[in-house]
């Protein structure tokens, strides 16, 4: 019996380690490549003999602006979408009767639609209102397409806050608006921050809306710039890996720091 259990444990360790190595290898190689000079770059498995930082300089010259754009797009869009999720989720969690259920399901369908069905009219609409290739245009777009998920997420989070708190507040003379602003939001920071992390990944990593609605230095996010770089005829892997590394860091860091609250928020939002 004992040997069988330990054999199981050995194979568990074996699989866990092999998969971990396979998962890490591309990231490690990409990181090493970012620090290699063009001469060394074809030796994939070797370590760089010196820290070659020119790749980052080239990347900064070609794509620096797009990284600033990405920041300028992501931070406000995350705030807007989370706030809007809370605003939409609140009545849906507390209203009684069929109408709120209908609105809820109505919004939910938006989570399941492939965005291609809106892509062309969106492009025409944003161009018509003069927001094509602008950062506010990206805010508007990301906020609008986040409505279904953010509302869904915050509704489920608010639904887990005891209803007695709501009724007690109303009896104390706190209006429904005051309850939302002074009690519910401060009590929901873990849900709001989990949603903020999910949204930053989603908006920072977006390619589809960026590629459809921007067309140049003014508003192009980093993902679009990198995609242009990747599909170039002669790919310079050194600068590309440097840019890739920089594009990966912000969201990865956010997830590592807030891992716990992300998992909790995710299960609160989706597990039930």
């Amino acid at each position: 019996m004992a040997t069988r259990v330990s054999a199981g444990r050995v194979s568990a360790y074996f699989i866990a380690i092999v998969v971990a190595v396979i998962f890490l290898a591309p990231l490690v190689v990409a990181t090493l490549t970012a620090f290699k000079s063009p001469r060394e770059i074809t030796q994939v498995l070797s370590f760089p003999t010196q820290l070659y930082l020119d790749n980052f300089v080239v990347a900064a010259n070609q794509m620096g602006r797009s990284f600033l754009n990405s920041l300028a797009i992501t931070i406000p869009a995350v705030i807007f979408s989370v706030v809007l999720g809370a605003i939409g989720g609140y009545p849906l969690a507390y209203m009684r009767g069929g109408s709120s259920r209908w609105i809820y399901f109505f919004l939910l369908t938006g989570m399941l639609v492939p965005f291609q069905i809106v892509q062309i009219p969106l492009f025409i609409f944003i161009r018509t209102i003069g927001l094509y290739d602008t950062i506010p245009g990206m805010w508007l777009t990301h906020t609008a397409y986040s409505v279904p998920f953010c509302t869904f997420f915050m509704r489920n989070f608010f639904a887990s806050v005891p209803r007695s708190m709501y009724e007690a507040a109303l009896i104390e003379g706190c209006g429904p608006f005051g309850y939302f602003w002074r009690l519910l939001l401060p009590a929901s920071t873990s849900g709001l921050s989990a949603l903020a992390i999910i949204q930053s990944r989603y908006i920072w990593n977006d390619l589809l809306f960026g590629i459809t609605l921007t067309n140049g230095d003014e508003a192009q996010p980093a993902t679009v710039a990198i995609a242009g770089f990747v599909s170039g005829v002669q790919v310079q892997y050194g600068p590309l890996m440097a840019a890739t590394l920089v594009s990966v860091v912000p969201v990865m860091a956010a997830y590592l720091i807030f891992q716990k609250s992300f998992v909790r928020g995710l299960l609160g939002g989706a597990g039930k």
Partner: protein, 305 residues
């Protein structure tokens, strides 16, 4: 009592008014950015239009009919279906396996957890950039490793060969997406009461039996979440494919979303592209509607309890 009633009613009325007020902005955005464009796409799909000129030409169902005669279109549909099957089974299966392994309480669990989850946080274009380097045919990581272990003859032109490119992309996506299902399953396994597992162990069940007879059925809520999200992802799939191969070589790795983008913004045939996206919507509906139906049955059942 009687004096309280009207005040209460007014109170509830104002409460409802505030709630409805809160819903104005989300619903307005939803109508502007979902409902209106969807209707507009249906309208555009009946036109011949280059997206720039002032006038469109109404051509009825011609776009839909012509697509049905295009091998390129069918190839993309087939690719979407293949991706659907792959995403339902591949990352889900590996994520479940990894979660089950880690749930045994391995040493260094935290590190493993972070490593498995890391790729999920990175942008699709970074996945594309990194894996283009891994798949570089002469000096990329995969070819180099195969050469080192003496299997150099297995090396392929990973992204350049129409027969290989889809498998290569799926490998990259497996690496990218497994972290999500892993994390959901792992958290789900942690939520299973220890007593259930303990009881089965006392009855003499092997770890294998415990997993399939006890843990896995209790994990079903996590499983349906992962499967639902995978299905939606398979229909939406665009960014990894576009950034890695542009749908090439020779349209071999194209899915409906990348084909639609190419037809709309590469060839400026907005009517045809709209028809592609309507077909995609129908395909997505056919996949997702049964899922929604099942979910609503579950919700009803849980409300009845």
């Amino acid at each position: 009592m009687t004096s309280v009633a009207p005040a209460r009613r007014r109170f509830y009325f104002s409460q409802r008014a505030v709630h409805l007020l809160f819903l104005v902005l989300p619903v307005l955005l939803f109508v502007t950015f979902f409902i209106y464009p969807i209707i507009s796409t249906f309208y555009l799909s009946l036109q011949d239009w280059d997206g720039i000129s002032k006038s469109m030409k109404f051509i009825g169902m011609a776009n839909y009919v012509e697509l049905l005669h295009e091998p390129r279109f069918f190839h993309a549909v087939l690719n979407n279906v293949t991706w659907l099957i792959f995403l339902l089974l591949g990352p889900t299966g590996l994520g479940l396996l990894l979660a089950a392994i880690l749930d045994r309480g391995l040493r260094g669990e935290r590190v493993f957890r972070i490593v498995y989850f890391l790729p999920f946080t990175i942008p699709a274009v970074a996945v594309a950039a990194i894996w283009r380097w891994v798949y570089e045919p002469t000096s990329g990581l995969l070819t180099t490793v195969l050469n080192v272990v003496g299997l150099g003859s297995l090396a392929q032109n990973w992204l350049g060969d129409p027969h290989v490119v889809n498998f290569a992309l799926m490998g990259a996506v497996m690496w990218w997406m497994t972290g999500f299902s892993f994390l959901v399953f792992f958290a789900g396994l942690r939520n299973i009461p220890v007593e259930c597992i303990e009881a089965a162990r006392i009855e003499g069940a092997t770890p294998w039996q415990i997993f399939w007879k006890v843990s896995f059925p209790l994990l079903w809520p996590s499983t349906i979440v992962v499967l639902g999200i995978s299905a939606v992802d398979a229909m939406r799939l665009f960014d990894v494919v576009w950034a890695t191969t542009n749908g090439g070589p020779a349209y071999a790795s194209e899915v409906l979303a990348t084909q639609m983008y190419d037809v709309a913004f590469g060839r400026f045939d907005m009517g045809r592209a709209s028809a592609i996206s309507v077909y995609l919507l129908i395909l997505a509906g056919a996949v997702i509607m049964p899922y929604l139906y099942y979910m609503s049955l579950r919700v009803q059942a849980s409300e009845a309890e």
